[in-house]
Protein backbone atom coordinates (compact mmCIF):
# COMPACT_ATOMS: atom_id res chain seq x y z
CA UNK A 1 0.00 0.00 0.00
CA UNK A 2 1.33 3.46 -0.73
CA UNK A 3 1.29 6.43 1.59
CA UNK A 4 -1.71 8.09 0.02
CA UNK A 5 -3.86 5.00 0.31
CA UNK A 6 -2.67 4.47 3.86
CA UNK A 7 -3.72 8.01 4.65
CA UNK A 8 -7.20 7.48 3.23
CA UNK A 9 -7.49 4.22 5.16
CA UNK A 10 -6.33 5.96 8.29
CA UNK A 11 -8.94 8.65 7.97
CA UNK A 12 -11.70 6.10 7.50
CA UNK A 13 -10.44 4.04 10.40
CA UNK A 14 -10.46 7.15 12.55
CA UNK A 15 -14.10 7.64 11.69
CA UNK A 16 -13.84 10.37 9.11
CA UNK A 17 -17.07 10.48 7.14
CA UNK A 18 -16.79 13.72 5.23
CA UNK A 19 -14.22 14.82 2.70
CA UNK A 20 -14.42 18.22 1.04
CA UNK A 21 -11.70 18.85 -1.48
CA UNK A 22 -10.57 20.45 -4.67
CA UNK A 23 -8.34 18.42 -6.95
CA UNK A 24 -4.65 19.24 -6.90
CA UNK A 25 -1.44 17.35 -7.51
CA UNK A 26 0.15 15.38 -5.91
CA UNK A 27 -2.36 14.19 -3.35
CA UNK A 28 -5.29 13.33 -5.51
CA UNK A 29 -4.87 9.64 -4.91
CA UNK A 30 -6.04 10.08 -1.33
CA UNK A 31 -9.32 11.46 -2.61
CA UNK A 32 -9.76 8.67 -5.10
CA UNK A 33 -9.15 6.04 -2.51
CA UNK A 34 -11.48 7.75 -0.08
CA UNK A 35 -14.18 8.05 -2.74
CA UNK A 36 -13.80 4.41 -3.58
CA UNK A 37 -14.11 3.27 -0.02
CA UNK A 38 -16.52 5.76 1.48
CA UNK A 39 -19.52 4.19 -0.23
CA UNK A 40 -19.07 1.14 1.95
CA UNK A 41 -19.13 3.11 5.16
CA UNK A 42 -21.74 5.69 4.25
CA UNK A 43 -19.33 8.57 3.99
CA UNK A 44 -19.77 11.71 1.94
CA UNK A 45 -17.32 13.46 -0.29
CA UNK A 46 -17.77 16.55 -2.36
CA UNK A 47 -15.61 18.33 -4.84
CA UNK A 48 -16.09 22.00 -4.07
CA UNK A 49 -15.42 24.88 -6.42
CA UNK A 50 -12.13 25.80 -4.80
CA UNK A 51 -10.00 25.12 -1.73
CA UNK A 52 -11.49 28.03 0.15
CA UNK A 53 -14.91 26.47 0.03
CA UNK A 54 -13.50 22.98 0.55
CA UNK A 55 -12.28 23.84 4.03
CA UNK A 56 -15.38 25.92 4.74
CA UNK A 57 -17.53 22.89 3.91
CA UNK A 58 -15.38 20.72 6.15
CA UNK A 59 -15.93 23.11 9.05
CA UNK A 60 -19.66 23.02 8.35
CA UNK A 61 -19.71 19.24 8.28
CA UNK A 62 -17.77 19.10 11.51
CA UNK A 63 -20.41 21.22 13.26
CA UNK A 64 -23.05 18.95 11.78
CA UNK A 65 -21.41 16.18 13.79
CA UNK A 66 -19.20 14.40 11.27
CA UNK A 67 -15.51 13.87 11.55
CA UNK A 68 -14.28 15.73 8.52
CA UNK A 69 -11.12 16.37 6.59
CA UNK A 70 -9.75 17.99 3.50
CA UNK A 71 -6.83 17.06 1.32
CA UNK A 72 -4.65 19.52 -0.49
CA UNK A 73 -1.20 20.64 -1.52
CA UNK A 74 0.78 23.88 -1.23
CA UNK A 75 -1.23 26.33 -3.35
CA UNK A 76 -4.50 24.96 -2.05
CA UNK A 77 -3.24 25.21 1.50
CA UNK A 78 -2.43 28.87 0.92
CA UNK A 79 -6.00 29.45 -0.16
CA UNK A 80 -7.28 27.72 2.95
CA UNK A 81 -5.47 30.06 5.29
CA UNK A 82 -8.45 32.23 6.09
CA UNK A 83 -10.47 29.21 7.15
CA UNK A 84 -7.70 27.73 9.24
CA UNK A 85 -8.23 30.89 11.25
CA UNK A 86 -11.97 30.34 11.36
CA UNK A 87 -11.45 26.74 12.42
CA UNK A 88 -9.25 27.92 15.27
CA UNK A 89 -11.67 30.62 16.34
CA UNK A 90 -14.78 28.42 16.23
CA UNK A 91 -12.69 25.62 17.75
CA UNK A 92 -13.79 23.18 15.12
CA UNK A 93 -12.14 19.78 14.98
CA UNK A 94 -11.00 18.90 11.48
CA UNK A 95 -7.97 17.49 9.72
CA UNK A 96 -6.04 18.96 6.81
CA UNK A 97 -3.85 16.56 4.92
CA UNK A 98 -1.27 18.58 3.08
CA UNK A 99 0.99 16.99 0.56
CA UNK A 100 3.83 19.43 0.19
CA UNK A 101 5.34 20.16 -3.16
CA UNK A 102 8.41 21.95 -4.29
CA UNK A 103 8.83 25.69 -4.37
CA UNK A 104 6.68 28.73 -3.90
CA UNK A 105 3.65 29.32 -6.12
CA UNK A 106 2.97 26.48 -8.57
CA UNK A 107 6.56 25.34 -8.16
CA UNK A 108 7.09 21.80 -9.29
CA UNK A 109 3.80 19.99 -8.73
CA UNK A 110 5.09 16.47 -8.93
CA UNK A 111 8.14 16.83 -6.74
CA UNK A 112 8.42 16.72 -3.01
CA UNK A 113 9.39 19.65 -0.85
CA UNK A 114 9.00 20.70 2.73
CA UNK A 115 8.62 24.42 2.40
CA UNK A 116 5.30 24.64 4.21
CA UNK A 117 6.52 23.92 7.72
CA UNK A 118 6.39 27.51 8.86
CA UNK A 119 3.26 28.18 6.85
CA UNK A 120 1.35 25.52 8.73
CA UNK A 121 2.20 27.34 11.96
CA UNK A 122 1.94 30.97 10.91
CA UNK A 123 -0.07 31.03 7.72
CA UNK A 124 -3.32 32.54 8.97
CA UNK A 125 -3.63 35.99 10.38
CA UNK A 126 -3.90 36.63 14.08
CA UNK A 127 -2.57 34.61 16.98
CA UNK A 128 -3.18 30.92 17.29
CA UNK A 129 -1.45 27.65 17.98
CA UNK A 130 -1.84 24.63 15.80
CA UNK A 131 -0.78 21.01 15.72
CA UNK A 132 1.24 19.74 12.79
CA UNK A 133 2.32 16.15 12.28
CA UNK A 134 4.98 14.90 9.92
CA UNK A 135 4.88 11.28 8.75
CA UNK A 136 7.87 9.65 7.07
CA UNK A 137 6.50 6.35 5.78
CA UNK A 138 3.18 4.84 4.65
CA UNK A 139 2.67 3.20 8.04
CA UNK A 140 2.95 6.60 9.67
CA UNK A 141 0.65 8.08 7.08
CA UNK A 142 -1.92 5.72 8.54
CA UNK A 143 -0.98 6.12 12.19
CA UNK A 144 -0.53 9.85 12.16
CA UNK A 145 -3.76 10.42 10.25
CA UNK A 146 -5.57 8.51 12.99
CA UNK A 147 -3.66 10.48 15.60
CA UNK A 148 -4.49 13.73 13.80
CA UNK A 149 -8.18 12.99 14.17
CA UNK A 150 -7.72 12.10 17.80
CA UNK A 151 -5.80 15.27 18.52
CA UNK A 152 -8.25 17.44 16.65
CA UNK A 153 -11.17 15.97 18.58
CA UNK A 154 -9.33 16.26 21.87
CA UNK A 155 -8.15 19.85 21.42
CA UNK A 156 -10.91 21.06 19.09
CA UNK A 157 -8.47 22.37 16.57
CA UNK A 158 -7.62 21.95 12.90
CA UNK A 159 -4.71 19.53 12.76
CA UNK A 160 -2.37 19.50 9.79
CA UNK A 161 -0.64 16.39 8.49
CA UNK A 162 2.34 17.55 6.46
CA UNK A 163 3.06 14.76 4.05
CA UNK A 164 4.87 15.09 0.77
CA UNK A 165 4.94 13.52 -2.63
CA UNK A 166 7.71 11.12 -1.69
CA UNK A 167 5.89 9.70 1.33
CA UNK A 168 2.61 9.64 -0.55
CA UNK A 169 3.83 7.54 -3.42
CA UNK A 170 6.14 5.32 -1.41
CA UNK A 171 4.90 1.73 -1.34
CA UNK A 172 5.50 -0.24 1.82
CA UNK A 173 3.74 -2.74 3.99
CA UNK A 174 1.16 -1.09 6.20
CA UNK A 175 -0.29 -2.85 9.17
CA UNK A 176 -3.85 -1.77 9.81
CA UNK A 177 -4.93 -2.70 13.29
CA UNK A 178 -8.33 -4.15 14.02
CA UNK A 179 -11.04 -1.63 14.60
CA UNK A 180 -11.31 -2.57 18.26
CA UNK A 181 -7.59 -2.06 18.78
CA UNK A 182 -7.71 1.49 17.53
CA UNK A 183 -8.05 3.97 20.31
CA UNK A 184 -10.25 6.77 19.10
CA UNK A 185 -10.86 9.95 21.03
CA UNK A 186 -14.44 11.01 21.29
CA UNK A 187 -15.47 14.57 20.85
CA UNK A 188 -16.09 16.33 24.13
CA UNK A 189 -19.85 16.40 23.93
CA UNK A 190 -22.21 18.42 26.02
CA UNK A 191 -25.24 16.60 27.28
CA UNK A 192 -26.63 18.93 29.92
CA UNK A 193 -29.94 20.71 29.87
CA UNK A 194 -30.74 22.58 26.70
CA UNK A 195 -31.21 26.04 28.11
CA UNK A 196 -27.89 26.04 29.91
CA UNK A 197 -25.51 25.24 27.09
CA UNK A 198 -22.70 27.76 26.62
CA UNK A 199 -20.64 26.99 23.52
CA UNK A 200 -17.41 28.42 24.95
CA UNK A 201 -17.59 27.51 28.58
CA UNK A 202 -14.53 25.44 29.38
CA UNK A 203 -12.95 23.58 32.26
CA UNK A 204 -9.42 22.68 33.27
CA UNK A 205 -8.30 21.36 29.93
CA UNK A 206 -9.29 24.70 28.41
CA UNK A 207 -11.44 22.95 25.81
CA UNK A 208 -15.13 23.79 25.58
CA UNK A 209 -17.86 21.22 25.17
CA UNK A 210 -19.35 20.77 21.73
CA UNK A 211 -22.79 19.88 20.41
CA UNK A 212 -24.09 18.97 16.99
CA UNK A 213 -26.16 21.35 14.96
CA UNK A 214 -29.81 20.35 14.97
CA UNK A 215 -29.94 18.89 18.48
CA UNK A 216 -31.98 21.73 19.80
CA UNK A 217 -29.32 23.62 21.72
CA UNK A 218 -29.85 26.64 19.51
CA UNK A 219 -26.33 27.92 19.94
CA UNK A 220 -24.55 30.70 18.12
CA UNK A 221 -20.92 30.71 17.10
CA UNK A 222 -18.99 33.44 15.37
CA UNK A 223 -15.55 34.16 13.97
CA UNK A 224 -15.68 37.45 15.82
CA UNK A 225 -14.17 37.66 19.26
CA UNK A 226 -16.83 36.11 21.47
CA UNK A 227 -17.76 35.46 25.05
CA UNK A 228 -18.85 32.17 26.61
CA UNK A 229 -22.22 32.34 24.94
CA UNK A 230 -20.60 32.63 21.56
CA UNK A 231 -21.87 36.16 21.18
CA UNK A 232 -19.54 38.78 19.76
CA UNK A 233 -18.06 41.11 22.35
CA UNK A 234 -15.68 43.71 21.07
CA UNK A 235 -13.28 44.63 23.82
CA UNK A 236 -9.75 43.95 24.88
CA UNK A 237 -10.77 41.83 27.85
CA UNK A 238 -12.80 39.45 25.75
CA UNK A 239 -10.09 39.33 23.13
CA UNK A 240 -7.57 38.44 25.81
CA UNK A 241 -9.91 35.77 27.14
CA UNK A 242 -10.18 34.22 23.67
CA UNK A 243 -6.63 34.40 22.44
CA UNK A 244 -5.04 33.44 25.73
CA UNK A 245 -7.08 30.27 25.85
CA UNK A 246 -6.70 29.41 22.17
CA UNK A 247 -2.95 29.66 22.59
CA UNK A 248 -2.64 27.98 25.93
CA UNK A 249 -4.88 25.03 25.25
CA UNK A 250 -2.01 23.84 23.08
CA UNK A 251 0.98 25.37 24.88
CA UNK A 252 0.02 23.99 28.27
CA UNK A 253 -0.55 20.51 26.95
CA UNK A 254 2.30 20.42 24.50
CA UNK A 255 4.01 17.64 26.44
CA UNK A 256 1.05 15.37 25.70
CA UNK A 257 1.06 16.28 22.05
CA UNK A 258 4.75 16.23 21.25
CA UNK A 259 6.00 13.02 19.76
CA UNK A 260 9.45 12.22 18.43
CA UNK A 261 11.84 9.40 17.76
CA UNK A 262 15.47 9.30 18.84
CA UNK A 263 18.32 7.08 17.81
CA UNK A 264 21.91 6.76 19.11
CA UNK A 265 21.50 9.91 21.13
CA UNK A 266 22.91 8.55 24.39
CA UNK A 267 26.49 9.17 23.43
CA UNK A 268 26.02 11.35 20.35
CA UNK A 269 28.33 14.24 19.61
CA UNK A 270 26.73 15.15 16.34
CA UNK A 271 22.97 15.23 16.18
CA UNK A 272 20.83 15.23 13.07
CA UNK A 273 17.40 16.76 13.59
CA UNK A 274 15.07 15.69 10.83
CA UNK A 275 11.47 15.05 9.84
CA UNK A 276 9.37 13.88 6.92
CA UNK A 277 10.85 12.13 3.95
CA UNK A 278 14.30 13.65 4.49
CA UNK A 279 14.48 11.79 7.76
CA UNK A 280 14.79 8.51 5.93
CA UNK A 281 17.97 9.63 4.27
CA UNK A 282 19.13 11.21 7.53
CA UNK A 283 18.63 8.06 9.58
CA UNK A 284 20.46 6.04 6.97
CA UNK A 285 23.28 8.55 6.96
CA UNK A 286 23.60 8.34 10.73
CA UNK A 287 23.75 4.56 10.60
CA UNK A 288 26.43 4.75 7.95
CA UNK A 289 28.69 7.17 9.79
CA UNK A 290 28.27 5.16 12.97
CA UNK A 291 29.99 2.35 11.11
CA UNK A 292 32.86 4.76 10.51
CA UNK A 293 33.04 5.36 14.21
CA UNK A 294 31.56 8.82 14.26
CA UNK A 295 29.33 9.33 17.24
CA UNK A 296 26.26 10.63 15.50
CA UNK A 297 22.65 10.40 16.49
CA UNK A 298 19.31 11.41 15.07
CA UNK A 299 16.25 13.09 16.42
CA UNK A 300 13.16 12.74 14.28
CA UNK A 301 10.23 15.08 14.79
CA UNK A 302 6.84 13.46 14.45
CA UNK A 303 5.07 16.58 15.64
CA UNK A 304 6.51 19.69 14.09
CA UNK A 305 4.24 22.00 16.02
CA UNK A 306 4.23 22.32 18.96
CA UNK A 307 7.99 22.11 18.78
CA UNK A 308 9.91 19.95 21.31
CA UNK A 309 11.87 22.90 22.73
CA UNK A 310 12.87 21.21 25.96
CA UNK A 311 14.27 18.07 24.47
CA UNK A 312 16.21 19.95 21.81
CA UNK A 313 17.80 22.09 24.52
CA UNK A 314 18.74 19.03 26.56
CA UNK A 315 20.32 17.45 23.53
CA UNK A 316 22.05 20.70 22.58
CA UNK A 317 23.74 20.71 25.99
CA UNK A 318 25.01 17.22 25.30
CA UNK A 319 26.13 17.34 21.68
CA UNK A 320 28.61 19.58 19.92
CA UNK A 321 26.89 20.07 16.62
CA UNK A 322 23.33 19.89 15.42
CA UNK A 323 22.69 19.35 11.73
CA UNK A 324 19.29 20.11 10.26
CA UNK A 325 18.69 18.79 6.76
CA UNK A 326 15.54 20.13 5.11
CA UNK A 327 14.03 20.32 1.64
CA UNK A 328 13.77 24.08 1.95
CA UNK A 329 16.01 27.00 2.76
CA UNK A 330 15.77 26.88 6.49
CA UNK A 331 12.48 26.67 8.38
CA UNK A 332 12.49 24.13 11.19
CA UNK A 333 16.19 24.97 11.37
CA UNK A 334 15.31 28.37 12.79
CA UNK A 335 13.45 26.72 15.66
CA UNK A 336 16.26 24.28 16.31
CA UNK A 337 18.73 27.14 16.25
CA UNK A 338 16.61 29.04 18.72
CA UNK A 339 15.99 26.16 21.08
CA UNK A 340 19.63 25.14 21.20
CA UNK A 341 20.34 28.53 22.79
CA UNK A 342 23.92 28.66 21.61
CA UNK A 343 24.80 25.45 23.47
CA UNK A 344 25.69 23.64 20.27
CA UNK A 345 26.69 24.73 16.82
CA UNK A 346 23.79 24.49 14.39
CA UNK A 347 24.28 23.75 10.74
CA UNK A 348 21.67 23.86 8.04
CA UNK A 349 21.90 21.46 5.13
CA UNK A 350 19.75 22.20 2.13
CA UNK A 351 18.43 19.14 0.38
CA UNK A 352 17.59 19.19 -3.31
CA UNK A 353 15.13 16.51 -3.97
CA UNK A 354 17.34 14.61 -6.38
CA UNK A 355 19.83 14.31 -3.55
CA UNK A 356 17.34 13.35 -0.94
CA UNK A 357 17.58 9.72 -1.76
CA UNK A 358 21.33 9.50 -1.38
CA UNK A 359 21.79 11.56 1.76
CA UNK A 360 25.32 12.42 0.59
CA UNK A 361 25.11 15.98 1.84
CA UNK A 362 24.11 14.85 5.28
CA UNK A 363 26.95 12.38 5.51
CA UNK A 364 29.41 15.02 4.37
CA UNK A 365 28.07 17.49 6.89
CA UNK A 366 28.40 14.97 9.70
CA UNK A 367 31.94 14.09 8.68
CA UNK A 368 32.88 17.73 8.46
CA UNK A 369 31.45 18.42 11.89
CA UNK A 370 33.35 15.46 13.26
CA UNK A 371 36.64 16.53 11.69
CA UNK A 372 36.28 20.05 13.07
CA UNK A 373 36.20 18.62 16.54
Amino acid sequence: MNGNQACAEGSLAAGCRFLGFYPIQPCFEIVQHFADRCVDVDGTFIQMEDEISALAAVLGASWAGKKAMTVTSGPGFSLMMEHVGLGVMLETPCVIIESQRFGPSEGYPTQAGSGDVMQSRWGSHGDYEIITLSPNCPQEMFDLTVRAFNLSERYRLPVVVLADKAVGSMVEAVIIPKAEDLRLKKRKRYSGPKGKYLPYEYDKDLVPWMVKAGQGYRFHVTGLTHDEKGYPVMNAKCQEWNVHRIINKVRLFSDDIIDYEEGYTEDAEVLVVCYGSVSRAAVRAVRQVRKEGIRAGFFRLKTLWPFPEQRILELARQVRTIIVPEMNYGQAFLEVDRCSRGKAETIFVHQDFPKVRSGVDIINAIRKADVKA
Partner: protein, 240 residues
Protein backbone atom coordinates in the same frame (compact mmCIF):
# COMPACT_ATOMS: atom_id res chain seq x y z
CA UNK B 1 -5.08 21.56 -27.36
CA UNK B 2 -2.77 22.18 -30.26
CA UNK B 3 -5.77 22.59 -32.50
CA UNK B 4 -7.01 25.47 -30.40
CA UNK B 5 -3.66 27.22 -30.40
CA UNK B 6 -3.49 26.76 -34.17
CA UNK B 7 -6.93 28.23 -34.55
CA UNK B 8 -5.90 31.09 -32.29
CA UNK B 9 -2.83 31.71 -34.40
CA UNK B 10 -4.87 31.86 -37.59
CA UNK B 11 -7.58 33.85 -35.85
CA UNK B 12 -5.07 36.55 -34.91
CA UNK B 13 -3.85 36.68 -38.51
CA UNK B 14 -7.32 36.96 -39.86
CA UNK B 15 -8.34 39.65 -37.38
CA UNK B 16 -5.26 41.66 -38.29
CA UNK B 17 -4.43 42.52 -34.68
CA UNK B 18 -0.92 43.31 -33.57
CA UNK B 19 0.75 40.28 -31.98
CA UNK B 20 3.32 42.36 -30.17
CA UNK B 21 0.58 44.06 -28.21
CA UNK B 22 -1.04 40.79 -27.38
CA UNK B 23 -0.70 39.07 -24.04
CA UNK B 24 -1.97 35.62 -23.37
CA UNK B 25 -2.92 34.98 -19.75
CA UNK B 26 -3.55 31.41 -18.72
CA UNK B 27 -4.15 29.49 -15.56
CA UNK B 28 -2.58 26.26 -16.69
CA UNK B 29 0.91 25.80 -18.04
CA UNK B 30 1.34 25.77 -21.79
CA UNK B 31 4.30 24.43 -23.62
CA UNK B 32 6.87 27.25 -23.94
CA UNK B 33 6.91 26.68 -27.69
CA UNK B 34 3.46 28.23 -27.82
CA UNK B 35 5.05 31.60 -27.13
CA UNK B 36 7.41 31.34 -30.07
CA UNK B 37 4.69 30.02 -32.31
CA UNK B 38 2.18 32.71 -31.49
CA UNK B 39 4.62 35.53 -30.93
CA UNK B 40 2.84 36.83 -27.88
CA UNK B 41 3.74 37.33 -24.22
CA UNK B 42 2.43 34.56 -22.05
CA UNK B 43 1.56 34.86 -18.37
CA UNK B 44 0.84 31.68 -16.50
CA UNK B 45 -0.87 32.70 -13.29
CA UNK B 46 -2.38 30.87 -10.36
CA UNK B 47 -5.26 28.53 -10.90
CA UNK B 48 -8.40 30.54 -11.44
CA UNK B 49 -6.81 33.98 -11.26
CA UNK B 50 -6.14 34.52 -14.96
CA UNK B 51 -9.08 36.85 -15.53
CA UNK B 52 -8.26 39.00 -12.50
CA UNK B 53 -4.62 39.16 -13.57
CA UNK B 54 -5.66 40.23 -17.06
CA UNK B 55 -7.97 42.86 -15.59
CA UNK B 56 -5.00 44.47 -13.91
CA UNK B 57 -3.00 44.40 -17.13
CA UNK B 58 -5.76 45.91 -19.19
CA UNK B 59 -6.40 48.74 -16.77
CA UNK B 60 -2.72 49.57 -16.51
CA UNK B 61 -2.06 49.54 -20.20
CA UNK B 62 -5.25 49.90 -22.23
CA UNK B 63 -3.31 49.33 -25.46
CA UNK B 64 -2.73 45.69 -24.65
CA UNK B 65 -4.89 43.04 -26.27
CA UNK B 66 -5.59 40.39 -23.70
CA UNK B 67 -6.42 36.82 -24.53
CA UNK B 68 -7.28 34.77 -21.48
CA UNK B 69 -7.18 31.00 -21.76
CA UNK B 70 -8.87 29.34 -18.86
CA UNK B 71 -8.35 25.65 -18.61
CA UNK B 72 -10.49 24.47 -15.77
CA UNK B 73 -13.77 26.10 -16.67
CA UNK B 74 -15.09 28.53 -14.17
CA UNK B 75 -14.44 26.63 -10.97
CA UNK B 76 -11.88 28.54 -8.96
CA UNK B 77 -12.21 31.62 -11.09
CA UNK B 78 -15.97 31.67 -11.50
CA UNK B 79 -16.27 34.83 -9.51
CA UNK B 80 -13.72 36.72 -11.56
CA UNK B 81 -15.46 35.48 -14.68
CA UNK B 82 -18.83 36.79 -13.57
CA UNK B 83 -17.55 40.16 -12.48
CA UNK B 84 -15.30 40.77 -15.46
CA UNK B 85 -18.32 40.09 -17.68
CA UNK B 86 -20.43 42.43 -15.61
CA UNK B 87 -17.85 45.19 -15.83
CA UNK B 88 -17.48 44.41 -19.53
CA UNK B 89 -13.73 44.34 -19.15
CA UNK B 90 -12.10 44.27 -22.55
CA UNK B 91 -10.89 40.66 -22.48
CA UNK B 92 -10.99 37.85 -24.99
CA UNK B 93 -11.65 34.69 -23.03
CA UNK B 94 -11.21 31.23 -24.41
CA UNK B 95 -12.52 28.57 -22.12
CA UNK B 96 -11.15 25.17 -22.96
CA UNK B 97 -13.74 22.75 -21.76
CA UNK B 98 -12.17 19.34 -21.59
CA UNK B 99 -14.74 18.03 -19.13
CA UNK B 100 -11.99 17.39 -16.68
CA UNK B 101 -8.76 18.95 -15.62
CA UNK B 102 -6.07 17.89 -17.93
CA UNK B 103 -3.46 17.45 -15.32
CA UNK B 104 -5.06 15.55 -12.53
CA UNK B 105 -6.36 12.05 -13.04
CA UNK B 106 -10.08 11.56 -13.33
CA UNK B 107 -12.32 14.10 -11.72
CA UNK B 108 -15.25 16.32 -12.26
CA UNK B 109 -15.38 19.88 -13.38
CA UNK B 110 -18.51 21.99 -13.60
CA UNK B 111 -18.66 21.20 -17.30
CA UNK B 112 -18.53 17.48 -16.86
CA UNK B 113 -20.48 15.47 -19.34
CA UNK B 114 -21.78 12.98 -16.93
CA UNK B 115 -21.33 9.29 -17.23
CA UNK B 116 -19.38 9.04 -20.41
CA UNK B 117 -17.30 6.41 -18.82
CA UNK B 118 -18.34 4.99 -15.58
CA UNK B 119 -15.87 4.65 -12.82
CA UNK B 120 -16.50 4.57 -9.15
CA UNK B 121 -15.55 8.16 -9.30
CA UNK B 122 -17.27 10.12 -11.99
CA UNK B 123 -19.51 13.07 -12.19
CA UNK B 124 -22.55 13.25 -10.02
CA UNK B 125 -23.11 16.91 -10.43
CA UNK B 126 -24.94 18.89 -13.03
CA UNK B 127 -22.76 20.87 -15.39
CA UNK B 128 -22.60 24.63 -15.60
CA UNK B 129 -24.02 26.34 -18.65
CA UNK B 130 -21.15 28.71 -19.25
CA UNK B 131 -22.48 30.59 -22.31
CA UNK B 132 -25.65 31.35 -20.39
CA UNK B 133 -23.74 32.56 -17.37
CA UNK B 134 -21.61 34.79 -19.58
CA UNK B 135 -24.55 36.23 -21.42
CA UNK B 136 -26.62 36.92 -18.36
CA UNK B 137 -23.72 38.74 -16.80
CA UNK B 138 -23.22 40.93 -19.82
CA UNK B 139 -20.68 39.38 -22.19
CA UNK B 140 -20.82 41.01 -25.62
CA UNK B 141 -19.79 37.98 -27.65
CA UNK B 142 -20.52 34.38 -26.78
CA UNK B 143 -19.81 31.38 -28.96
CA UNK B 144 -19.17 27.68 -28.51
CA UNK B 145 -17.37 25.24 -30.80
CA UNK B 146 -15.69 21.91 -30.55
CA UNK B 147 -12.01 21.82 -31.36
CA UNK B 148 -12.83 20.05 -34.62
CA UNK B 149 -14.92 22.95 -35.94
CA UNK B 150 -11.62 24.36 -37.03
CA UNK B 151 -12.70 26.94 -39.61
CA UNK B 152 -15.64 28.09 -37.53
CA UNK B 153 -13.38 28.51 -34.56
CA UNK B 154 -10.89 30.59 -36.54
CA UNK B 155 -13.69 32.77 -37.89
CA UNK B 156 -15.17 33.18 -34.44
CA UNK B 157 -11.83 34.19 -33.00
CA UNK B 158 -11.15 36.63 -35.81
CA UNK B 159 -14.60 38.08 -35.33
CA UNK B 160 -14.39 38.41 -31.57
CA UNK B 161 -10.83 39.69 -31.20
CA UNK B 162 -11.39 43.21 -32.58
CA UNK B 163 -14.57 43.75 -30.60
CA UNK B 164 -14.55 45.83 -27.46
CA UNK B 165 -15.77 44.16 -24.32
CA UNK B 166 -15.92 40.78 -22.67
CA UNK B 167 -15.87 38.02 -25.24
CA UNK B 168 -16.21 34.32 -24.51
CA UNK B 169 -15.54 31.39 -26.78
CA UNK B 170 -16.06 28.00 -25.20
CA UNK B 171 -14.10 25.31 -26.95
CA UNK B 172 -15.02 21.71 -26.29
CA UNK B 173 -11.88 19.69 -26.40
CA UNK B 174 -11.86 16.45 -24.44
CA UNK B 175 -9.29 13.76 -24.93
CA UNK B 176 -8.67 12.96 -28.61
CA UNK B 177 -10.56 9.68 -28.75
CA UNK B 178 -13.72 11.40 -27.59
CA UNK B 179 -13.42 14.49 -29.71
CA UNK B 180 -14.84 12.84 -32.78
CA UNK B 181 -17.85 11.75 -30.75
CA UNK B 182 -18.55 15.27 -29.62
CA UNK B 183 -18.03 16.68 -33.07
CA UNK B 184 -20.55 14.30 -34.55
CA UNK B 185 -22.96 14.88 -31.72
CA UNK B 186 -23.13 18.62 -32.13
CA UNK B 187 -25.41 20.84 -34.10
CA UNK B 188 -24.85 24.41 -35.17
CA UNK B 189 -27.52 26.83 -34.04
CA UNK B 190 -26.46 30.43 -34.38
CA UNK B 191 -28.26 32.87 -32.19
CA UNK B 192 -29.76 30.15 -29.99
CA UNK B 193 -31.11 31.27 -26.63
CA UNK B 194 -28.28 30.55 -24.24
CA UNK B 195 -30.70 29.23 -21.63
CA UNK B 196 -31.18 26.24 -23.92
CA UNK B 197 -27.57 25.39 -24.67
CA UNK B 198 -26.77 23.56 -21.43
CA UNK B 199 -24.84 20.38 -21.94
CA UNK B 200 -26.98 17.47 -20.93
CA UNK B 201 -26.96 13.75 -21.23
CA UNK B 202 -28.54 12.24 -24.34
CA UNK B 203 -28.75 15.60 -26.04
CA UNK B 204 -26.81 17.02 -28.89
CA UNK B 205 -24.33 19.74 -28.00
CA UNK B 206 -25.43 23.06 -29.41
CA UNK B 207 -22.59 25.04 -30.94
CA UNK B 208 -22.49 28.33 -32.78
CA UNK B 209 -22.40 32.00 -32.10
CA UNK B 210 -25.02 32.82 -29.49
CA UNK B 211 -24.52 36.45 -28.63
CA UNK B 212 -23.09 39.45 -30.41
CA UNK B 213 -23.98 42.86 -29.06
CA UNK B 214 -22.48 46.14 -27.96
CA UNK B 215 -22.07 47.50 -24.46
CA UNK B 216 -19.97 50.22 -22.98
CA UNK B 217 -16.67 48.79 -21.72
CA UNK B 218 -15.33 49.40 -18.26
CA UNK B 219 -12.64 51.81 -19.44
CA UNK B 220 -15.05 53.81 -21.60
CA UNK B 221 -17.54 54.07 -18.78
CA UNK B 222 -14.76 55.09 -16.40
CA UNK B 223 -13.50 57.80 -18.72
CA UNK B 224 -16.94 59.07 -19.54
CA UNK B 225 -18.10 59.34 -15.95
CA UNK B 226 -14.95 61.08 -14.79
CA UNK B 227 -14.92 63.52 -17.71
CA UNK B 228 -18.49 64.35 -16.88
CA UNK B 229 -17.72 65.10 -13.26
CA UNK B 230 -14.18 66.42 -13.34
CA UNK B 231 -13.82 67.93 -16.78
CA UNK B 232 -10.27 68.79 -17.76
CA UNK B 233 -8.85 67.92 -14.37
CA UNK B 234 -9.31 64.25 -15.16
CA UNK B 235 -6.25 62.46 -16.46
CA UNK B 236 -6.92 59.34 -18.49
CA UNK B 237 -5.07 56.16 -17.83
CA UNK B 238 -2.29 55.64 -20.34
CA UNK B 239 0.52 53.21 -20.83
CA UNK B 240 3.78 54.26 -19.20
Amino acid sequence: MDKIIEAFHDGINKSGRDREKMCMVTDIAYDPEVVDYLGVDLFHTNRGRAIAFATGMKLSNPNLILAVFIGDMATLGGNHFVHAARRNMDLFVVCVNDFRYRKVAAQETPGDFSRLEFSSYCSIEQPLNLPHLARSNGAVYVARWTALHHEDLINSMAEALPQAGFKLIEVISPKPELLEFFYLNSEIKHGEDTAKVGIEEDKKIVVGKFVERERETFIDAYNKQHYKVLGDKFIKIAAE
